[in-house]
Symmetry: C2
Subunit: 207 residues, 2 copies
DNA sequence: CCAATCAGTGAACACCCGTACACTGAAAGT
DNA sequence: ACTTTCAGTGTACGGGTGTTCACTGATTGG
């Protein structure tokens, strides 16, 4: 039997060193351009030890996709608990988005970059997770006043529109230099205005 | 003196072989992952000959950015000449977008990928060109009925919203498998609906 | 016709890559 | 106490990389 043997603990620690090393290095030049040896070196481990944890860089990439979308889902869960969200969905959403992306920059940068630049496997996984996310958001949107009676395809469409803009805004935050609260506020303000414009269209939408 | 000496002609032909080889190879795995030697090999030229045309892969990348945005600008110019555009801006825009992207897939794929995945130089160049493009579109939008009186920041904001969606729709066309007119129609329909929703918001927009 | 130019050649270099293999030594199981 | 397990080691390999250098030979211009 085993409770928390030092054995597995150490292995887990190394695994996480590899994951976070990969994430750090990927921030500089993109995950697709970093090598197994670079990751191992940064994690303080010999290249061959890498294989005790991942069969290939692709497998590492998939693990990072999973990790990244976990923080994305956490963001949504937190946002829904926030009482401000009911008072003013748009302002709260802009706030939460910018703050969370700033906090977990590496994860969002990873998704933004590898969404198009990564290997087939990584790209496919990200695409799939984003599609899931669109559907989840559609469920939330379907409960909003003006949208209740829409055809489900239209709800999906508007959900895609929101997710696209979320992705795009996240990209801007990721590219933003540190310590520039003015830029941060501009991005928030832009996000708010875009969402407001889209919501204005809701009332008059038909077919 | 020289008019069109066979000398320069041949050089130009090689240069274009290198450019188109790079574009072709980049479509498979992304420009950032292909090597100078691969490009030279595909162009039927020895690696060292590459340097007669470009100082580095980065310089090649910048040339491809230029080439790609030339076709993008051509798309806009053609669209403005099309009489249908005045009859129904939205349907025409969706049509032109999907058709042009399909025709120049390699260029749009290049921009979509390297917009985030490329080297600093390439990424910066694409970002700059896209910003220019947003401003150009804003000038066109500012002449539309409901928008005439808007503050210029709001016009820019809505222009960004359109360009973002254009980029995102282009990405979908690029990822679309060939010979799937059903998918193509779905993307067009989605683009039309999103644009219509946004335009609906125009009338009620204030501040 | 002859000298200069210069796009493209081919060999050589030092380097980094992924992976195979036999290994070590401490923790885990009995 | 002993054996087994297995995370991490160290060496070695074949192969792809960017860049250097001296070169060749057809086109060019006088």
């Amino acid at each position: 039997m085993s409770t928390a043997g030092t054995r597995q603990e150490q292995k887990e620690r190394t695994r996480e060193a590899i994951l976070s090393s990969a994430l750090t290095l990927a921030q500089e030049h993109g995950f697709a351009q970093i090598s197994l040896r670079q990751v191992a070196r940064h994690a303080g481990v010999v290249p061959t030890a890498f294989y005790r944890h991942f069969q290939s860089m692709d497998e590492l990439g998939l693990a990072l996709v999973e990790q990244s979308f976990d923080t994305l889902r956490q963001m949504i869960r937190d946002a829904q608990r926030d009482p401000d969200v009911f008072a003013n969905i748009i302002d709260a959403a802009a706030e939460v988005l910018v703050d969370t992306v700033k906090q977990y920059k590496a994860h969002f940068a990873f998704v933004a970059r590898e969404r198009f630049g990564g290997s087939d496997a990584v790209r496919g996984a990200i695409r799939h997770e984003l599609d899931l996310f669109v559907s989840e958001l559609a469920v939330v949107l379907a409960r909003l006043p003006n949208i209740e009676r829409w055809r489900s395809e239209d709800v999906q469409m508007v959900s895609r529109l929101f997710v696209r803009n979320m992705v795009y805004n996240a990209e801007e935050v990721v590219e933003m230099p540190d310590n520039r609260p003015d830029l941060e506020e501009r991005i928030k303000e832009g996000a708010r205005r875009q969402m407001r414009l889209i919501v204005l269209g809701f009332e008059k939408w038909e077919s």
